[in-house]
Amino acid sequence: MFESKAGILFIAGIGFFAFAFLSNAVVPMVMYKDLPEQTAEQVVNDKLMYQFDELSRRYPGAFREHIGEPTVENCADALRLGKQVYVGEGCWHCHSQFVRPVSNDSKRFGQVSETWEYQNELQRPVMFGTRRVGPDLSREGGRRGSDWHAVHFFKPKMVSPDSPMPEYPWLFDGAPDQPNGRGLALITYVQWLGSWLDTYPYYEELDAEKMEESF
């Protein structure tokens, strides 16, 4: 059996693979089958709509041209496109979306990530990430203004002088105050991250703590 063609094909090839699939993939699938997957429309919330609205007033021309009215449907479309930009540009190779229960992550980024946070269309495939060159983004929404993000995406060094993050001028029509469709969508997506939580994380507290220490 150990050296026969059938043994290798069916036991090692298919059998062991199936066994691993069963234990490593089917078990979690079964465990979470009762958590329904939400659509982009369903995950649009008040905080995000506030940001979306603000975006429409800050860049009225670009917003009207690329998105239209700040409605929930348009916001969901922007989220979808924004996620595609996030994936396509490889942001997820430098940023995780997953606050770990260790390494003081929760102090730095806020509440530890939980399963339900990922049960939506925009986490397909899930954006846990495997590498952090830049900080975790799963609680980024509302942390900075959309104008900050615009400038930062246009040329990160303008707001963060030592940043190794790449520039994304192609998300703009020539200037940081003229985001194009992809730019607006990406900002919307980033503002969505973590907006589903009740409270924003404690950066300010952390900064205050740091200030005290340094005096």
């Binding site: 050296e3 063609k5 290798i8 094909l9 090692a12 090839g13 298919i14 062991f16 693979f17 691993a20 699939f21 490593n24 993939a25 979690p28 699938m29 979470y32 958590l35 997957e37 979808r80 496109l81 994936v87 396509g88 540009e89 490889g90 942001c91 190779h93 770990r100 229960p101 260790v102 390494s103 003081n104 992550d105 990530s113 939980e114 399963t115 990922y118 049960q119 939506n120 269309e121 986490q123 397909r124 495939p125 899930v126 954006m127 846990f128 990430g129 495997t130 590498r131 952090r132 830049g134 963060s160 030592d162 940043s163 190794p164 790449p166 192609w170 194009n180 469709g181 969508a185 740091k210």
Partner: protein, 489 residues
């Protein structure tokens, strides 16, 4: 039967092996290695603020980082392995592949798949906000992301996936046919190859379709982990070890040391390797008991790996000097030492204690380079060093350039590995000590600069190889070739 009559009844090498195809595959592999290295260098430059191509959309460092890894997996490794398969399988089975026409078709199709993937990753995102795509997505009720898919190593755009899967099925048919026809007991290499055909197909299907179409959230994470792990463990690893089991005894002209250990190695790998996927996502919301399972099987597989390495060291026993004198053997055994180091590192880094510190850091990137370059690429380079003179009918133009290629690759990748491992430890401590993020980025600079130069060293070695190959090709053809020799010689 005298050996002469055996030689007469055996099929001749030229009737079995389509050498031209092996050459083409190798050349394709080498081209993608060049592209991948350039991508890696671009990203390395980006991190140290020296990127000369910022603000040029098609040279976006983020997109090229994905080209970097995909060109290696599907361009370099897949092509090089297909080339070796076309050499090894017919010679071991004494049967031709199912169809030579099919082989050429697969070759062409695979290059289209790789180029399509690269094109998708590079220009897909640019076209993403076109109206026609949005309307297609609406009408078909599916996501239409032209660019990369969001799973590491699974970035192949969704429209490439079905074609690639079909390609893998054809590859399996083409090579399983001669294996099925072969008579007598199967040699170790063929165990690995057979299993690899099945596994690669299943792995690719699992990783590229389930997380995209069927699963979200935590369960998608579990499948994603399984995929990135299986791609290395069930596609690259068995093809790599299969090759070693074939080629090392041939060059050393003696059998593998222990058949029993070969069995342990194969079945241990087959059982424990697929069970480890979740170890890429420890401390995620994936249930803890599954994480423990993955950790335990990871540690188990390191013992299996040790038996394989011992088996090969036993084979070398008595011929130690060949490591100095014989270049391919040196490539192979250096790769095996690196393999042992990565696996040992793996057994440590998979523990929750290590994970706290090194997850998300450059430690992992160092690990990835040592496995992918230090082990499998080195094995392939060794194989190429061995086979090109036969494929071209010419001796290497310069042994010295071969030596430089070896030393630059081995030293470069090992420095990169040490450097990034250390960088990872620093980054881990910067983060957990809650210093501002910039501190960790600035603190990484010396390591990233070192990494660039380590990478450039590897690159220089590779350029020497290219030049050497070019000069060899232009050189004089040898009088005798292998074509008429019986396939077992």
């Amino acid at each position: 039967m005298s050996s002469e009559t055996v030689a007469e009844t055996l099929p001749r090498h030229a009737d079995l092996v389509e050498e031209r195809l092996v050459r083409w595959y190798f050349l394709a592999a080498i081209s993608y290695m060049l592209i991948s290295m350039l991508g890696g260098i671009l990203m390395a430059l980006q991190l140290i603020h020296w990127n000369p191509l910022t603000s040029w959309e098609i040279f976006s460092a983020g997109r090229w980082r994905m080209v970097h890894t995909n060109a290696i997996a599907y361009g370099f490794l897949a092509n090089a392995f297909l080339g070796t398969l076309h050499w090894v399988v017919p010679r071991l089975t004494l049967q031709k592949v199912a169809s030579v026409k099919l082989s050429y078709f697969i070759f062409a199709a695979w290059q289209l798949i790789v180029l399509g993937t690269a094109a998708g990753i590079i220009i897909g995102p640019t076209l993403q906000d076109q109206e026609w795509i949005a309307s297609l997505a609406r009408n078909w009720h599916m996501e239409m992301s032209l660019g990369a898919q969001g799973l590491e190593w699974g970035e192949t755009p969704f429209w490439v996936d079905p074609i690639a899967l079909l390609g893998l099925a054809l590859v399996a048919i083409n090579f399983l046919t001669p294996i099925a026809k072969a008579k007598g007991p199967m040699y170790v290499t063929l165990w690995y190859y057979m299993a690899a055909f099945v596994w690669t197909f299943l792995t690719y299907a699992m990783g590229n379709f389930l997380p995209q179409y069927a699963l979200t959230g935590t369960s998608a994470g579990a499948v994603g982990g399984l995929f990135i792990h299986d791609l290395v463990g069930l596609f690259v690893t068995p093809l790599g070890w299969g090759l070693m089991y074939y080629i090392v005894p041939i060059i050393l002209q003696k059998p593998i040391w222990s058949h029993g250990l070969s069995l342990v190695g194969f079945w241990g790998l087959a059982f424990f390797y697929p069970l480890q996927g979740i170890h890429h996502f420890l401390y995620t919301p994936i249930p803890m008991f599954l994480q423990y399972g993955a950790i335990i099987s990871t540690i188990a597989v390191e013992f299996v790996v040790a038996t394989v390495v011992i088996n090969f060291m036993g084979t070398l026993w008595g011929d130690g000097r060949k490591v100095v004198t014989n270049l391919p053997i040196r490539w192979f055994y250096t790769g095996m030492i690196f393999y042992f180091i990565t696996c040992f590192q793996c057994a440590l880094q998979v523990t929750l204690t290590f994970q706290k510190l090194i997850h998300f850091t450059d430690w992992v990137v160092g690990h990835a380079h040592l496995v992918m370059f230090g082990v499998f690429s080195m094995w392939i380079f060794g194989t190429m060093t061995f086979l090109f003179p036969r494929l071209l009918g010419r001796e290497w133009y310069s042994r010295k350039l071969c030596e430089i290629h070896f030393w630059c690759s081995a030293v470069g990748v090992f420095i990169m590995f040490l450097d990034l491992g250390l960088a990872g430890v620093f980054q881990g401590f910067y983060w957990s000590s809650l210093q501002p993020w910039d501190v960790s980025v600035d603190g990484s600079q010396p390591f990233w600069i070192t990494r660039l130069f380590a990478g450039l060293t590897m690159f220089v070695g590779f350029l020497c190889f290219l030049y050497n190959l070019h000069m060899t090709y232009r050189g004089e053809q040898r009088a005798s070739s292998t074509a008429a020799v019986p396939a077992t010689a």
